[in-house]
Every structure is written in C-alpha cells, then in structure tokens.
C-alpha cells in the first residue's frame, strides 16, 4: 500500500500553516510538503522548469484567493468597469495552466473559490446574474470545473465547505495583515482532511465496508427485550425518525459502491426477523453483504465477516453505539476505522455523512452493483453446498469471461481495479488513468480487461492483464483479478489468453515475474500451481509452442468493439466501417483456432517485438 507522497503547495497567500498541518497529519498517506514561493502561482504553473518543481512532487495543491489571482476579478470587487467575459477569460487561462501542469504530476488538487462569509459584498444584489459577487464566483467555479473535467488526475476541492464549517471564525484579519494568512486553523484542518481523503481515493485506499451494530445503532431499543414492535424506528417520533434517516443515508452510500455488514450481539433469528418485517426498516436483508449475529466477541466476528467478503480490515469502518465495543475493536483491530460516535441518535446521520474515508475518483456500474454482487455470491455459495465437486459447481454457474482491450469506455474501471486489488496482483503497479492508457498504447505493449458473469449475476470488469513483448519473449507485466471472482478458474482463462496472444506476436515464451508484497501471496500460489515452469527469483514461464489448457467450465468471448482495431505495433486507432485490413476483427464469440494454433476470428492482438525491449 502506497503510504507516502510528495506535495507542492502553490498559493498566493502564506500557506505555511496549511503545509504544516498537511505534513503533521497522521492519517495515511503521509505527505511531505514543499511550499512554492509566495505569490508566484501563474509563474510556477506556466514553467515546468521553475525551481518550485525541483523536488519532483507527486502531487500539487493550488489554493488561491480570486481577487489576488485574477486582476479582472479584483476590478470587479472594486466596482471598476469590467465584464463577466473578461473575468471568465482569466479563469480559462488559469484552467489551461492547471491542465498543462497536471501532465507532470500524478494528482493535482485545486481549491474552489469562496466568499468571505463575514463580509457582506453585495447584500440583496449578491445573486443578480452577471452583477453580484456570489453569482460571479459560482460562474467562475463552474467554468473552472468544466475546463478541467477531462483531466482525470485533477480534482477541485470545495473550499466553500471548509469556510462554511468554520463560519464566523473562517477568516482572520489579524493573521492576514500581520502574516498574509487569510484563514484560521479550522479552515486549514478541514482542507487537509479533504485532501487526504481524495488522495486515499486515488490510491485505492477508500473504505468499502461499513459494519454496523443493531440495537441503539440501526434502531432504538434492544430487539431481544422489547420485540420488533417496541423498537424506535420511523414514525412521528424524533428519535425514530432519526434512526430511519440514518438507515436511508446508509442505503444511499450503498448506491455509491459501499457495502454494509452487521456484527451484533443478538439472537440471529429475532434480529433477522426484525430486519425482514419491521415496516419502518429502510434497510432489508438484501442491503447487507453479510452478517454475524451471535453472542461472540465482535472483533472476532468482524474478522470472519471481512474474510467471508474477501475484504481486508483496512477496508472496514465499524459503527457501534457502545463505547466499550468500539474500544474493543479499536484495540484488537487497529486497521479498522472506528470513528468517534455521538451519544445522541439525532446526530447519527450527520456523523456518518461527515466521514472522510469513502472518497473515490469515479463510480462505475460495478460499484453501484457491489451489494447485489454479494447477494449473488451468497446464492452461489448456497449452490455450492448443493453441488458436489468444484468443477461441477463452476460448470453449474455457466461462467462467461469476456476479454476486451483497454479503451476509453473501460479505462476508469480498469484503473480502479489495478489500484485497489492487492491479493491477486502480480506486480502491484499503481497508475493513474493517463499513465495506464499511455503504457498500453506503447509499441509492443497492450492491456486487456476481463468481464466475468454467470447465470446468477454479472461480476463486471474484474480482471486485467498486460503484456510486453521484447525480442522473442512476452512478459506478463500485470495480472490482476478481483477477489470477487478468485478461485473460479478465471485466472487460468486469463493465462491462456496471454499465451495465445504471445504466440501470435511471435514470442516463443511467456514469462511472469511475481513481485511479493504483504498481501499478494494468493497470486504466487496461483502461478505455482498453474503449470507454468518455475525459475529462480519467483519467475514462471511457458513455452508458447504448447497450448495452455482452458478450463472447460468457462466460456471465453471477445468483446465486440466497433470502430476499434489494433495496429501491428500495438497502436490503437479507429477502423473504417469497411473492415480492418490488419486482420483484427473483434467479432468472434468463440475461441476457435486455425492451422498452427493461430487464433482466428478473435480480436487478435498483432504485436511486433521491439528490438532491445521496451522499458
């Protein structure tokens, strides 16, 4: 897991306090901060050779005051003659500089522009279109966001939220006139919290699983004592309404890709009956990915639940009204986030929605369907209990794996998978969307993704493999599979795909080099039993003259991607409707072979080895 980054803070005010809070913040990832020279925002952004970039930061955070950055906006504030177009023109220039500078960074953060809430700027005219300051700032922020929308590594952070939270204490004139520090520390602390949350989002470290207690957490009362009818939930009671709203907020989070679990000390049958039948429950059983409801230790139950869901403890948030239970889990499982929790249930919803641990840069369909995926998994497990052997069970699922080349439509999800997957990950490379796309378009290199579905549901894009061909060898660079579909022999389908591709590219051997981490031992175990021959240094190889047997229980198809073709050197382009003269016809649905074992009617990757290899 990536734990430290270097950040350049670029500002037109004294940002030393912000830098200090950012560097001292103990939440991961750790950030080492350099502060750009005061008041040289445009100069630093415009010049990649500026001394401020000397330390080659991974990240930059640009935080400006609009009246200092944009001369036209200052004229507006001074009620001098200036048009909205002039001001927006300067915003556009600023956005262009941000976009250009972001090319040299992994991630770029830009603070939106905010009004000082303690100063009445226009009063009743503040929102007059084209005339009021609030209206103008909104237009400026919207334009900035629109201009940067296409940059996947640039994020605008909402500084209005930071100043609004601090209220009257947001701005400090004493600090400003004596030190050019506009804000009180409360504002900087909120900014650092949001920045760290966004970094964790980019790095695949967002929390995914919320584990909840039941009594006095999801509902008021103890169901074992008062029965379902005696619970405070919903209705016209303030407490009941607050619990119902808390559940609704949790349900909203599941639509953003989070999953819910229950760990509760209760009689399971009584608790499940309440979840199924209480008329005011906003969450039903199918909203939960799993549960452990018994009288055992909650820490042990939590570990079991996370294991069942194939999630690491660093993905988990634990919410419980009981401070003793929270303390127990905090002590026993330091990787689990156990946030401080209010005593008053009227404050539960706000406490949940103020957590800064769920940020992700994008939301895919797989994310939205994650809970349904777990429900389907429960059904698969039930099927497994009914069927005999593993292969019989897998065959009964009617698994289909679909291979498709990396492209614009799947880039976001592919990057998310690459950055979030730990266990079945050969090299554990972490890349931004732009980096992955660039890598995959280099001559001799290609990235493929795999979608997996079966008769019980669609697991979505859950596999990724990349190949680099040098001389007569094909190197497996990335081999990634979501834990959701591990152990269903999808690994073998991906390996066979890579062998076929390598053979087509003229490589005589496929080589996979395993790079160990604390979490990816399952990947080593796969390669050890795969049939690939082991060599020293965790290297595994396969001579492409031999087929790699595909498991009979999985049907492999290739995505039909109209308008897509692969040039001989691995460069991607659009083909005409007349067809692809290079012979790459991505229309096949069967894995058929012609003479010499060459794939025909598949989306064949014509790769040519580049002399000397590609770094």
């Amino acid at each position: 897991m990536e734990t430290s980054l270097r950040c350049l803070l670029i500002s037109d005010f004294n940002a030393q306090n912000c830098a200090a809070y950012l560097e001292n913040d103990e939440d991961l990832p750790a950030v080492e901060v350099d502060v750009g020279p005061f008041g040289q925002v445009m100069q630093i952004l415009a010049d990649p050779a500026h001394a401020a970039w000397r330390q080659r930061p991974d990240v930059a955070f640009v935080w400006t005051l609009p009246q200092r950055l944009l001369p036209a906006f200052q004229r507006f504030v001074d009620h001098q003659t200036v048009t909205v177009l002039e001001i927006l023109g300067e915003v556009e220039q600023f956005a262009q500089l941000i976009a250009a500078a972001s090319e040299h960074l992994r991630y770029m953060f830009v603070a939106s522009w905010a009004q000082d809430p303690g100063v009445r700027s226009g009063g009743m005219t503040d929102w007059q279109p084209g005339k009021g300051r609030a209206d103008l700032l909104a237009r400026m922020n919207l334009l900035l966001a629109e201009q940067l929308a296409g940059k996947s590594n640039v994020v605008i952070l909402d500084s209005q939220r930071w100043t609004a939270l601090a209220g009257k204490e947001a701005y400090n004139d004493k600090l400003w006139f004596q030190g050019k520090i506009p804000f009180n520390n409360e504002v900087f602390l909120e900014a650092v919290g949001d920045l760290k949350a966004a970094l964790r989002g980019f790095l695949g470290q967002a929390r995914k699983l919320i584990v909840l207690d039941l009594d006095e957490t999801l509902w008021g009362g103890i169901v074992g004592d008062v029965g379902m009818e005696g619970l405070k939930l919903g209705g016209h009671d303030a407490i009941g309404e607050a619990y119902a709203e808390f559940q609704r907020a949790l349900k909203t989070l599941t639509r953003q890709g989070l999953v819910l679990g229950i760990v509760s000390k209760n009689d399971e049958a009584v608790a499940l009956a309440a979840i199924r039948q209480h008329p005011e429950m906003q969450l039903r059983l199918d909203d939960f990915a799993g549960w452990r409801i018994n009288w055992d230790d909650k820490a042990r139950n939590l570990v079991e639940l996370a294991t069942e869901l194939n999630l690491g403890l660093q993905s988990v948030v634990f919410i419980d009204d009981n401070p003793a239970e929270r303390a127990r889990v905090r002590e026993a499982l330091p990787e689990v986030l156990v946030p401080p929790w209010p005593e008053n249930p009227l404050l539960y919803r706000r406490a949940l929605l103020s957590l800064q641990c769920f940020d992700t840069p994008s939301l895919s369909e797989e994310d939205r369907q994650r809970t349904q995926a777990y429900v389907s998994e429960r059904q698969r497990s039930e099927l497994k209990r009914q069927v005999g052997s593993l292969d019989d069970w897998l065959s009964s699922l009617e698994i289909v794996a679909t291979a498709e080349p990396l492209g614009a439509a799947n880039l976001a999800r592919a990057t998310q998978l690459l950055n979030k997957t730990n266990q079945m990950n050969l090299a554990t490379r972490r890349m931004s969307e732009a980096e992955l796309q660039t890598w995959g378009s280099q001559p001799g290199q290609a990235v493929w993704v795999f979608r997996v579905s079966d008769k019980l549901g669609d697991s979505g894009l859950t596999g990724l493999a990349s190949l680099r061909v040098t001389a007569d060898q094909a190197h497996v660079v990335d081999f990634v599979l979501s834990c959701r579909v591990m152990g269903r022999r999808v690994e073998e389908i991906m390996a066979s795909w890579l062998v076929d591709l390598a053979r087509q590219a003229g490589a005589g051997r496929v080589v996979a080099t395993y790079l160990p981490t604390a979490k990816n031992k399952p990947c080593l175990e796969f390669w050890q039993r795969s049939g690939f021959r082991p060599a020293e240094g965790h290297v595994f190889y396969w001579e492409t003259a031999a087929d790699f047997a595909k498991p009979a229980c999985i049907r492999l198809t290739v995505a039909n991607l109209p308008g897509f073709s692969v040039h001989p050197l691995g460069r991607q382009s659009h083909r005409s409707a007349a067809g692809d003269p290079d012979g790459c016809i991505p229309n096949a649905t069967a894995n058929s072979r012609g003479p010499g074992g060459k794939l025909v009617s598949e989306n064949s990757l014509h790769m040519t080895a580049t002399p000397g290899g590609v770094p």
């Binding site: 004294n14 030393q16 306090n17 200090a20 809070y21 560097e23 001292n24 204490e169 400090n172 004493k174 600090l175 004596q178 030190g179 520090i181 009180n184 520390n185």
Partner: protein, 105 residues
C-alpha cells in the same frame, strides 16, 4: 463579562494555544508546556510565524472566554526590555496586565 483571570486560568488558555501551535510544528520542534519555556530571543523556540500563530490563538481565546478584544503585540510591548514574549511565564504575566488594562475603571 470581562474579569481579570487568575494565573492558573491564564496558563490554561496559554497551554491550549501552545497545543494548537504545536500541531503546526514537527514533533522535534514542539515546545514544552512549562512556564520556563523560552519563546523568543536567544534560545527561543519559535520563529516569527510561530509567535504570530501563538499570539493570535491566545487573543482568540481571550475574546471567547472574557469577551475582550486585546492586542498582545502592540508597539509598546514590542519595544519593552526585557521582552514580555521571552518565555511562557513572562507572556502569562503580560496577558494579565493587558486584560487588566481593559477593565472598566
């Protein structure tokens, strides 16, 4: 609402302000919460930004707790010798004097 605080309360607010400033300092540079801690001058542990942060943090607390708006670093205090900002104890005494001056006659 204004009232002259006793020394114990002043140190309570002073140390709370030190806690706030320490969050902005690297662990090795954080200052001890004891009366003898040197702030400025030879052996002083805070730079100009640190002193500004500390003084503003104290002034905010005085305003919140006593309802009185003070300026701890005015021309007079900056020119005093010995400096009232030399140590936490001298700063505590300075705070009491400044607040006392704000009391209605």
């Amino acid at each position: 609402m204004s009232q002259t605080p006793d020394q114990a309360r002043v140190f309570e607010w002073l140390y709370a302000a030190v806690d706030e400033v320490n969050q902005q300092l690297r662990k090795a540079q954080r200052i001890d919460k004891s009366p003898g801690t040197l702030l400025t001058g030879e052996g002083g542990l805070l730079d100009s930004l640190g002193m500004l942060n500390l003084l503003v943090a104290i002034e905010r607390r005085l305003e919140q707790q006593l309802g009185v708006s003070v300026t701890l670093a005015d021309e007079e205090s900056l020119s005093q010798d010995p400096s009232p900002f030399r140590s936490l104890s001298s700063l505590a005494e300075h705070i009491q004097r400044v607040v006392l001056r704000k009391q209605p006659a």
